[in-house]
């Protein structure tokens, strides 16, 4: 029982640390025992309930994550990767905006409802029979990006109302009494008891679903019940303390690290380790409360510790072939001959139309119908935004193709790998923590962040046996860490965050003429270079062995291509802000159209990326007039809808994606 001893020791140690950090200054032992006076109350009804909450929430999330991983046989499954958390977040946000009184009173139930329904959608869309693969994670991440876009639009249109929600998103364990713990304890206890009671048959499930069925196990009902219980644990936890994302992913991986293999002890340990890790990380903000000018949310601290741990654990866990051979492709076998010129013309036409049409109080107005003296002014206001959108779409599509070929993984894209998040974080941190002026410093700091993340990823890569899936995992962990830090920065009260809100959602309206032209030219140069490296990309798609055998210097090729990626992704973030989905979606759609060769895929994807982002820019101008929605937010809505449609199609066609 050594693992259990380790877990208990960790648990005790973390509680001691937390209490030491949160012990009120100047509280004598006598006062403490008497339990009277403010200092003593600060201990008994703020610090102790906080420890209790950290233990409860940690245990709940740890158990939920362990159960999800046990059922799905998927080392990446967790409340945050299956959309549970973002569902709760969105439901609360919508309620706060439209029915503030109702949200104030029933926040807990709103979160439960949102978390349950979104998780149900994610699992249904990806298909309960295919949870062991990466499909579920793709859908979950797509959901995160998609709903994250919705949330940001809501936040932007209701600036001051949602500050509380931003605090909640970062996850904070501050307590003022035992009410929350008393509410949560029975939820966790009942949920955990039910899960542990039902978990035994999962041993049979490990043989695979068909084998389990052959032994008379009702697989589907069992899976549905257990998953619902896990979501319930998660939603109940985050409803009271906010979105704390990492614990559910760390705990089960840590259990495997300890070498525990049997089901029920594994789940129990998952709960223990979850409780220990959240208590441990929450000691940091508690210790810093008096020192820091602003509140440090517990969720940020958890991510700060959790992300590196996750990467380390994953490096030990991942099998080299975890995701190679995973293909998300069906559709046309061959690109129709007219497709390349047609799409290129369509991209140019879309750009021209976007500059020609504008929104007005009376709806869409063609530039020719405007007063003559206004025309040049309107054009000069419009073109930087449209050209920036076109450049960003093109650059992201090119970068996406390169990354997907390089990592042989259809999930690889700058947003998934954390490159976008890195760029965003350095820019946000520069403004919020160092007080740098946003306009002047965003560009260098964003570029710096993108390069830093890619350098980090290529360092991981230096061991040539690092599998592409491992990199994706590292990227996801990194992106989540940086997102938590960004949320932390945004949660700072005051309006620095508002200043960045627009840029964070990918606002092409911020583009200056210089910026737009620079970005557009950068995109063109990157596309040209990528086309000239066609042979490299083709060889790398077949794997390293094949590429080396054909005389390719794999390391050098990779480095060169990564510099291209950093330049592309960094410029986009710097000039117009972080934009999700396009880098994932455009290359994929190109393949579906039959563009299987590298050259074809690059051209078609670039055209599609341009059309998509220009369309998003125009939509953002018209939908909420006179308010303008950020292009990036609209793009993630379009992208999310596309991905969902695709997954639903594949579900009905019963093809593997």
């Amino acid at each position: 029982m050594r693992p259990a001893a380790i877990a208990l020791a960790l648990l005790l140690g973390s509680v001691v640390l937390h209490v030491a950090a949160g012990y009120p200054t100047g509280l004598t032992l006598r006062e403490l025992i008497d339990g009277t006076g403010l200092q003593s109350l600060l201990f008994w009804s703020s610090e102790l309930p906080r420890v209790a909450m950290a233990l409860l929430v940690g245990a709940g999330l740890g158990l939920a994550g362990s159960t999800m991983q046990e059922i799905t046989r998927n080392p990446l499954a967790s409340p945050s990767t299956l959309g549970t958390i973002v569902g709760a977040w969105l439901a609360l946000m919508v309620a706060t905006v439209f029915w503030p009184e109702f949200a104030g009173r029933y926040g807990v139930w709103i979160c439960l409802f949102g978390g349950l329904s979104v998780t149900a959608v994610v699992l249904t869309v990806s298909g309960l029979s295919r949870m062991d693969g990466i499909v579920v994670i793709v859908v979950g991440m797509a959901t995160n990006l998609f709903l994250g876009g919705v949330v940001l639009v809501l936040a932007l249109l209701n600036g001051e109302t949602v500050q509380a929600v931003f605090v909640w998103v970062a996850g904070d364990l501050t307590q003022t009494g035992w009410a929350d713990a008393q509410w949560l304890a029975p939820q966790i206890a009942v949920g955990a008891a039910l899960i542990l009671a039902l978990a035994r048959p999962l041993t049979i499930l490990r043989l695979g679903q068909d084998a389990a069925r052959a032994r008379g196990l009702a697989v589907l009902p069992l899976v549905i019940v257990l998953l619902s219980l896990s979501v319930w644990l998660t939603a109940a936890s985050i409803a009271v303390v906010g979105a704390i994302g990492f614990i559910g992913l760390i705990a089960p991986n840590a259990v495997r690290l300890l070498g525990v293999r049997s089901v029920v002890p594994g789940l129990l340990l998952g709960a223990l380790l979850g409780a220990a890790s959240l208590t441990l990380t929450d000691a940091i903000p508690v210790a810093l409360t008096d020192w820091s000018r602003t509140l440090i949310p517990s969720g940020s601290a958890a991510a700060l510790i959790g992300a590196p741990v996750l990467v380390l654990v994953a490096m030990k866990q991942m099998r080299p072939d975890a995701s190679s051979g995973f293909q998300m492709v069906w559709g046309l076998e061959k690109l129709p001959p007219f497709a390349q010129p047609a799409l290129s013309i369509a991209a140019i036409a879309a750009t021209a139309l976007a500059i020609g049409f504008g929104a007005s109080p009376d709806g869409a107005v063609w530039i020719g119908d405007q007063a003559e003296r206004l025309r040049p002014m309107l054009i000069s206001l419009r073109w930087p935004s449209v050209i920036a959108a076109a450049g960003a779409g093109a650059a992201l599509a090119t970068v996406g193709v390169i990354l997907q070929r390089l990592l042989r993984n259809p999930l690889a894209s700058p947003d998934v790998l954390g490159v976008t998040a890195g760029a965003t974080f350095t820019a946000v941190a520069g403004v919020v923590f160092l007080g740098l002026p946003a306009a002047e410093t965003a560009i260098p700091s964003a570029a710096f962040g993108a390069f830093a993340v890619l350098i980090l990823l290529s360092l991981l890569w230096r061991r040539s046996e690092t599998p592409p899936a491992m990199l994706i995992l590292a990227g996801i962990a990194l992106a989540a860490l940086l997102d938590a830090l960004i949320q932390f920065a945004m949660a700072r009260a005051g309006s620095e965050a508002n200043e960045l809100l627009v840029w964070r959602t990918g606002a092409t309206s911020l583009a200056t003429p210089t910026g737009a032209v620079t970005l557009f030219v950068t995109a063109a140069v990157i596309l040209a270079l990528a086309l000239s490296f066609r042979r490299w990309l083709t060889l790398l798609t077949f794997g390293e062995g094949m590429a080396s055998a054909r005389g390719l210097g794999v390391i050098r090729a990779r480095r060169t291509l990564l510099v291209l990626v950093a330049a592309g992704a960094g410029s986009v973030v710097a000039w117009v802000g972080p934009i999700s989905f396009i880098g994932l979606l455009a290359p994929h759609a190109a393949t579906m159209l039959g563009a299987r060769q590298v050259g074809q895929q690059l051209v078609v994807a670039t055209a599609l990326g341009t059309i998509l982002l220009v369309a998003a820019e125009v939509t953002g101008r018209f939908v909420a007039y006179p308010n303008q929605l950020p292009t990036g937010a609209v793009a993630s809505l379009i992208g999310g809808a596309y991905l969902f449609g695709l997954l639903l199609l594949s579900l009905f066609r019963r093809k593997s994606i």
Partner: protein, 311 residues
């Protein structure tokens, strides 16, 4: 540069003229100068069609009796700033974070006013109309002084300098009167006061150094009960347990706060010194990141609370 040269030339001509014909009265068309975050600008006449992209500047304009042609996020302004109300005729030109430049262009403004957080749009705004950007709130200066200066500067720009001075003087007189009343009511020294805004039932924003409430309290001769560091917005963002550090005096919280039941019924809350001594009060909606006259409004609310307890 050209404008500077023009101004020097004008000044030179004026000097020359005055040397000939004695002192000149100021006449309309006189170049007026105003300095924004980027340097001095001169205007040949008072701008007539103004669009404000920032709430504090919107407040300053309306306080000077100027109806802006367009304002950013009037709905949010009504919810949070409320006073003075935006005139019916002012057009919504989108959010402060993403002002709709085409809408602005259609309104044919002759001046755009931008706040410190809109640096990203200065270049865009300049392409549409002359633009001024004011860094009203900053960690590096005295916010209240900067905002009063801005009020006077806008007064000069719009030929309403006298009105601006009169309004500030009125406010100061009013605050001085309230200070005397408070001093008379509390001969042994007035209690300390801390203004807070609850984000939710567990997190709070405490007003402190360099905030508008501090400026109001200085004018009223009051001290803060919570020491904070200097900051851009004059606030500290803390867990509510941090309020335990307020050992004496009043704590006033500003509406709206929906989760009151969940906080005010806890044992910990009842043990807070200001709750035990029954010195916790509610203020109506007040915007603490606003214009010059908001200092007076905040001061009136604080004074009213302190005096109500004496009567």
């Amino acid at each position: 540069m050209r404008s500077l040269a023009r101004r020097l030339l004008c000044a030179g001509l004026l000097l020359a003229a005055s040397a000939w014909i004695g002192p000149v009265p100021l006449f309309a068309g006189e170049a007026r100068s105003i300095t924004d975050a980027r340097g001095p600008h001169s205007f040949a006449s008072a701008p007539e069609r103004v669009i404000s992209l920032n709430w504090a500047l919107t407040e300053q304009l309306i306080s000077l009796g100027i109806a802006p042609v367009g304002v950013a996020d009037p709905e949010g302004y009504s919810n949070w700033v409320a006073v003075p109300a935006i005139p019916e005729a002012s057009v919504d030109i989108g959010k402060r974070e993403a002002p709709n430049l085409e809408r602005i262009l259609g309104l044919q403004p002759d001046l755009l006013l931008l706040g410190g957080q809109q640096s990203a749009y200065v270049q865009h705004a300049e392409a549409v109309a002359p633009a001024l950007q004011f860094q009203l709130y900053s960690e590096d200066h005295d916010n209240a002084a900067a905002i009063r200066d801005n009020f006077l500067a806008l007064g000069t720009l719009f030929d309403r300098r006298a009105l601006a001075e009169q309004k500030l003087a009125e406010m100061d007189r009013n605050l001085a009167r309230l200070r005397d009343e408070i001093a008379a009511a509390y001969p042994d020294g007035a209690p300390k006061v801390t203004l807070v805004r609850f984000i939710d039932d567990k997190r709070v924003v405490i007003s402190g150094k360099n905030g508008m409430p501090e400026a109001a309290m200085n004018a009223l001769g009051l001290k803060s009960g919570y020491p904070t560091e200097n900051s851009r917005w004059g606030i500290a963002f803390k867990p509510v347990t941090a309020l335990a550090a307020i050992k004496e005096g009043y704590v006033l919280h500003m509406e709206p706060f929906e989760k009151g039941d969940q906080l005010f019924n806890t044992e910990l809350w009842h043990e807070m010194p200001f709750v035990k001594s029954d010195r916790f009060r509610t203020l109506p909606t007040l915007w603490t990141y606003g214009g010059a006259l908001s200092i007076g409004r905040i001061g009136e609310q604080i004074a009213e609370t302190l005096m109500a307890d004496k009567n």
